[in-house]
């Protein structure tokens, strides 16, 4: 193996170097945005149109169900989407965290999403009448099934300590059949499909992170079991443009492009080194 090839290989297999270079590239891109044009993905537009065309007083169930670690990819979509729902008005918004890791993401929605776009009251929404934070429900299959069949019996008390049965919003909400749309922010999208939307024939919008798209969303979408989806920072940026409120996702998009270029260049470099190594090996023989 030649000295140059060896040093390139050593550099590529040096984890601190690769990770450090990636972090530096991201910092540079975040601090100096290139302002690359954003081409709206048809799927983001589809989600936007669904939200725009919701009938007045539609009941939207917004479910957070994801590990805290995935929030870097999930929150950028949640912010413009929730903003859109609140700005539109005339909707009944039910926020809930369900699943084994959803307790943390519910805190995050509260502190991060609302902190950035303002609490629903800012948009004229009244707690208990137009929006409600149902807090967190532990468990998986059983919780999903129970919630679908008896919403009030599964929740009992909301995040603010109110009895849900006493809230005006819950007058005609008893089962999953009473909701008009489910927005699922997280992994394992087959869970709401299995227990909620297929059984009660409800539309489902999934907000997923990039890694889960081919295995967790596309098969269900092509089979017609998911109505539409948003995916990662990219969709978040699309949605920010659609709602005319550029924010964190748009700011992160350049950094994302730079990071992809960085990774592609590493892959190319790795492959070139591999080929050079092979040729050098042949020559040596």
């Amino acid at each position: 193996m030649g000295k140059k090839t060896e040093s390139v290989l050593r550099l590529l297999s040096n984890k601190p170097f690769v990770q450090g270079a990636l972090v530096l590239a991201l910092i540079f891109a975040l601090a100096n945005p290139l302002g690359l044009p954003i081409k709206i993905d048809p799927m983001s537009k589809k989600v936007y149109d669904i939200m725009e065309n919701l009938k007045p007083n539609s009941k939207i169930l917004y479910v957070a169900s994801a590990p805290t670690g995935t929030m870097g990819d999930l929150i950028p979509q949640s912010v413009p989407l929730i903003y859109h729902l609140m700005r539109r008005g005339n909707l009944k918004l039910f926020f809930i965290g369900i699943g084994e890791s959803a307790d943390h993401i519910m805190i995050y929605i509260d502190s991060e999403v609302f902190k950035r776009i303002g609490y629903p009251e800012k948009y004229g929404l009244v707690y208990g009448e137009d929006w409600v934070n149902l807090g967190y429900v532990a468990g998986r299959e059983v919780s999903y099934e129970n919630f679908a069949n008896d919403v009030q019996g599964t929740i009992l008390i909301d995040r603010e300590g109110n009895r849900v049965a006493e809230l005006p919003m819950f007058e005609d909400v008893h089962t999953m059949a009473d909701f008009d749309l489910v927005i699922y922010n997280g992994e394992k999208s087959w869970m709401p499909i299995q227990y909620w939307t297929e059984k009660f024939h409800k539309p489902l919008i999934v907000l997923t992170h990039t890694a889960m798209l081919p295995i967790d969303v596309i098969p269900w979408y092509t089979a017609g079991q998911i109505t539409a989806y948003l995916c990662g920072v990219r969709s978040g940026a699309d949605y920010e443009v659609l709602v005319d409120r550029p924010g964190g996702a748009v700011a992160a998009l350049d950094a994302l492009s730079i990071s992809h270029l960085f990774l592609i260049s590493l892959i190319l470099l790795g492959n070139i080194t591999y080929m050079v190594e092979k040729i050098e090996g042949k020559e040596a023989k």
Binding site: L22, L26, I27, A31, I75, H104, Y136, I193, K199
Partner: protein
């Protein structure tokens, strides 16, 4: 550029930097951040768990819903693990948990995952479809069958079976490649959020 005066933002920024110090070396700074996060998560989870017990079990029980005594007893049986003599009783809550999950899972899996996905795979070609749409629709059942045949080991993969299973192998490699690429992209996205917090929230960078 104005540095934040919010103590919460400062703590978050210091913890992020401490967390990313692993890039250089696994030092006491990283270990402190790691253990703090673990402790914090464990503490929050415990609080949420306790809150669930109060909300769903204790309050209804005190209001006369006597039937709630059954899940309470089942849950308490978990603690019999602490005694060698009665440890076998701890199997009961585990059985209840596993059985309820599996029974619900199986019943819903059949209709959603098996029938729903097969129905989606064999959908008719809509009128007005382009040649690319038709190819796309046809690829799905072909790939599905070839992957299933790839995992069939009752016969040697030679002849026609070998050729079909080869398509399955390539399809699997393609799918795994796509998954790997997406996972790599996601991991990068996870880094962007903390960096934004440092640059914009903490250091007050305006771009």
């Amino acid at each position: 550029m104005a540095i934040s005066t919010d103590i919460g933002v400062w703590i978050a920024a210091i913890m992020i930097i401490a967390g990313y110090s692993i890039i250089i070396k696994n030092t006491v700074v990283f270990k402190f951040a790691e253990r703090t996060v673990l402790g914090l998560v464990a503490g929050t989870t415990a609080v949420f768990g306790f809150e669930q017990i109060i909300k769903l079990l204790w309050i209804p029980l005190t209001e006369g819903k006597i039937v709630n005594i059954i899940p309470l007893i089942i849950a308490l049986l978990l603690f019999t693990r602490l005694s060698k003599e009665y440890a076998y009783l701890s199997r009961i809550p585990i059985i209840v948990l596993v059985a309820s999950g599996i029974s619900l899972g199986i019943t819903r899996n059949v209709s959603t995952i098996i029938f729903g996905q097969i129905k989606g795979m064999l959908k008719p070609i809509p009128t007005g479809s382009t040649i690319f749409d038709i190819i796309g629709i046809l690829i799905v059942p072909v790939v599905c069958c070839s992957v299933l045949l790839f995992f069939t080991y009752t016969r040697e993969h030679t002849g026609a079976l070998g050729k079909v299973s080869l398509i399955g192998r390539y399809a699997l490699m393609f799918a795994l490649g796509v998954s790997f690429g997406n996972f790599t992209a996601t991991r990068t996205n996870y880094v962007i959020l903390p960096l934004k917090r440092i640059l914009f929230d903490w250091l007050g960078l305006v771009v």
